[in-house]
């Protein structure tokens, strides 16, 4: 549907023709992930993480549905129902570890997917909506992951729910009523647990719906590529199947191997020991920390410590929300017409600085709120905002990009010239060959 040379669907069997005439579902699939979707032929492994995100969403939904058959959303029984799954349900331990670690790996692949988009300018025209829908998915994922972490009703579940719903009470006047309304009480209890479970079951299907929009809007302009140059001719593309199904297939196997290694041999490495203690509203854990994928945002939240015009807590909450919401404006903040960071020498340096900055924020997010971590997180958070809101617009104005290749095929195809010239006699060949 995206390019003139996209192969139309040709039913191979009588049955296929019969179905296609009445309901063109096979055609839809063929045009979306089959031979009918032309993809730039120069994609690198950064482009495998979209399909991997889909795989992990599927793993989460399938394991989650089975876990929900055994889980019991009760403030008295939730913790023990998890242990019932771990001890008495057939292969229950595997389902639960697959789901808990699946959430972490979902975030790993989505972060790589997002950072790839940042580096190669995949958010720029004409893919702004792809980017924004992706951010919507990311926000839904964060909400789903948070509510899922509450369900075991361990100490971190309970106090995490306390802290995160407490964000809303930072807003003056309306904040506290909103918090009470969200929790269905003054503190997390049965009402909160039941609604979190209900929403935790609902949101993944909302995510799946937005994923369809994300892919739909992607398939209009087609995938970006490492050069950032638009597809011009048929030579620039390969059909998704069999080329990218094969590439995604083996890479998914490799990544799932890593996932299985963690799932089976270090299943609690990414969790927190306190969540194996049943929730106790009367005993606050020494350090309340969220799951690793929220650490950078937690560091931003805690970096604001001074009541400057607004209370520090409100600054922190607003900044934390802003740190994600600003990404929606990225297509208009970065005005450089060159998409790929590979041809933007100044942008590239700042990009890697941002990666280091986010890693530092993550580290500060898990450390206790004391010096020197507070000071480090303040500098790192200041850079985070400066990067997107000040540096990127300026870089895109003043930077001199490197020359772009004329086409995708020129950048990637090789061999013809050398092959056609007699060995060692081609004048344009490097002197070393003589």
């Amino acid at each position: 549907m995206s390019f003139a040379w996209a192969k139309p669907y040709q039913p191979k069997t009588e049955l296929g023709r019969w179905v296609d005439d009445r309901m063109p579902l096979p055609r839809l699939v063929y045009n979306a992930v089959g031979g009918g979707y032309p993809v730039p032929r120069n994609l690198n492994y950064g482009w495998n993480f979209g399909v991997l995100s889909g795989i992990f969403l599927t793993i989460q939904i399938v394991t989650g549905i089975v876990l929900a058959m055994h889980y019991y959303a009760s403030a008295d029984g939730a913790f023990n129902s998890i242990e019932h799954i771990m001890r008495d349900v057939n292969a229950g331990w595997m389902l639960r570890y697959a789901h808990a670690n699946g959430a972490s790996f979902f975030f790993i692949v989505v972060y790589i997917h997002i950072f790839r988009g940042l580096y190669y300018g995949s958010y720029k025209a004409p893919r702004e909506l792809v980017w924004m829908l992706g951010l919507v998915i990311y926000l839904l994922m964060m909400a789903t992951a948070f509510m899922g972490y509450v369900l075991p009703w361990g100490q971190m579940s309970y106090w995490g729910a306390q802290v995160i719903t407490g964000f809303f009470s930072a807003f003056p006047v309306v904040g506290e009523p909103i918090r009470v309304w969200l929790l269905g009480g003054y503190a997390p209890d049965q009402a909160a647990l039941t609604r979190f479970f209900s929403l935790h079951y609902l949101l993944p299907f909302v995510i799946a719906g937005v994923v369809i929009l994300h892919i739909w809007s992607l398939h209009i302009p087609g995938s970006n590529n490492p050069t950032g140059v638009d597809v011009k001719t048929e030579k620039d593309t390969l059909p998704f199947h069999p080329f990218y199904t094969a590439k995604d297939g083996w890479f998914a196997g490799a990544f799932l191997t890593l996932y299985a290694a963690v799932l089976f041999f270090a299943p609690n490495a990414l969790g927190h020991p306190d969540n194996y203690i049943p929730a106790n509203p009367l005993a606050t854990p020494a350090h309340i920390v969220p799951e690793w994928y929220f650490w950078p945002f937690y560091a931003i939240l805690r970096a604001f410590t001074v009541d400057f015009i607004l209370p520090a807590k409100l600054w922190g909450v607003v900044a934390m929300f802003a740190s994600i919401l600003l990404l929606f404006f990225l297509p208009w903040l970065d005005r450089s017409p060159v998409r790929s960071g590979a041809y933007r020498p100044v942008f590239k340096r700042f990009f890697w600085l941002l990666m280091v900055d986010i890693a530092i924020l993550g580290f500060c997010g898990v450390m206790p709120a004391e010096q020197p971590y507070v000071a480090i997180s303040q500098i790192a958070a200041a850079y985070y905002f400066a990067h997107f809101l000040i540096i990127l617009p300026l870089v895109s104005k003043f930077e001199r990009p490197l020359p772009l290749p004329n086409s995708i095929s020129e950048s990637v195809l090789h061999g013809e010239k050398e092959e056609s010239a007699p060995y060692g006699l081609d004048k344009s060949a490097p002197a070393a060959a003589q």
């Binding site: 120069n42 023990n80 242990e83 771990m86 001890r87 331990w93 595997m94 570890y97 069999p242 080329f243 094969a246 590439k247 297939g249 083996w250 196997g253 490799a254 799932l256 191997t257 299985a260 290694a261 799932l263 089976f264 041999f265 299943p267 609690n268 020991p273 306190d274 194996y276 203690i277 020494a286 970096a303 410590t305 001074v306 400057f308 520090a312 900044a319 802003a322 600003l326 404006f329 208009w332 903040l333 010096q371 507070v374 000071a375 303040q378 500098i379 200041a382 905002f385 997107f388 809101l389 000040i390 617009p393 195809l413 090789h414 061999g415 013809e416 050398e418 092959e419 056609s420 060995y423």
Partner: protein, 304 residues
């Protein structure tokens, strides 16, 4: 317009952060954080190697039985283990009759079938391990207001796991003179016990193990160290009874995935073999031909 607004928003956030930074640093320089006894004297757990460690680890059933004996004769006086049933003991190598006898040796709350009155009865293999106290209040009343935690998940519920449990059990000592000199206020209060592996250094539990406290059926010398190791190993099992299954499944899944990945990789190479070339790779620049040629040149002693 977006960029102008963004510039000022960015300046605002960065500005407030830098103000926070300066204010905090000034406060820190004026009154640096006092070091605390917990910070200076708390120790990381000692090393502990168990048969269940590592990707191929299996439980040492003899050791689990010894650990169970320590739990039963020492820990169970104060600590519950309410996620474990008597029937689970079969996994330690006890036969059906032994499990039944083990259960029958404990009393659990029950109801008199004739009168409906609350009473106690002998436990069945399907019963969970009974708690030593009727409720939290009773437990606190008997323990100087400290609550002995349930042990079922202990090795997963503490940083350091089994090594932490082992270190705690063997870590009791007198308060170092250096600590008392530096932090006179941190003297261990009456009724608590100094233990550098415990988060705040002073634990309510009295040293529970002493040499020869239990008599092992298998003739192992019941030193304090041995008993601490055995009970730690036992608590690894209570926290993760399916550990051996997990390791076994894990190996099978990894082997399957690695083979599938290798096959997938070869088919990927096959499908893509010519996807990035404009002509088929059959000429002198074909890597295979190049390698052959270089080899032949090397044989003939031609350089370059």
């Amino acid at each position: 317009m977006v960029r102008i607004i963004a510039f000022f928003v960015g300046l605002g956030f960065a500005g407030v952060l830098l103000i926070s930074l300066v204010v905090n640093l000034v406060a820190y320089v004026q009154s640096p954080t006092e070091p605390t006894a917990e910070h200076e004297f708390h120790r990381e757990p000692k090393e502990l190697h168990l048969a269940s460690d590592g990707p191929l680890g299996k439980f040492d059933r003899q050791q689990l039985q010894r650990g169970y004996q320590v739990y039963k004769e020492v820990c169970a006086a104060c600590h519950s283990m309410n996620l474990v049933s008597f029937r689970d003991l079969a996994a330690l190598g006890y036969n059906e009759a032994e499990v039944k006898a083990e259960a029958a040796s404990r009393e659990v709350p029950g109801i008199n079938p004739d009168t409906g009155e609350v009473t106690t009865r002998k436990a069945l293999p399907t019963d969970r391990f009974p708690s030593p106290y009727a409720n939290e209040t009773a437990a606190r009343a008997a323990n100087n207001n400290a609550l002995p935690p349930d042990l079922s998940l202990m090795t997963k519920a503490r940083e350091g796991g089994a090594a932490y449990v082992y270190s705690l059990l063997t870590g009791y000592q007198n308060q170092p003179a250096k600590l008392l000199k530096e932090f006179p206020a941190a003297k261990t209060p009456q009724g608590l016990h100094y233990n550098p592996y415990f988060a705040n250094l002073n634990i309510a539990m009295a040293p529970p193990l002493s040499d020869g406290q239990v008599t092992y059926a298998d003739g192992t010398q019941a030193t304090r160290d041995q008993m601490a190791k055995d009970v730690s190993a036992f608590l690894v099992w209570t926290a993760e009874p399916k550990l051996e299954n997990r390791h076994r499944y894990g190996m099978a899944v990894l082997i399957f995935l690695i083979i599938a990945t290798i096959l997938g990789y070869f088919s990927y190479r096959n499908i893509w073999a010519e996807a990035k070339r404009q002509v088929a790779p059959k000429g002198p620049l074909d890597p295979e031909n190049k390698a052959k040629r270089n080899h032949a040149k090397g044989e003939a002693g031609i350089v370059g």
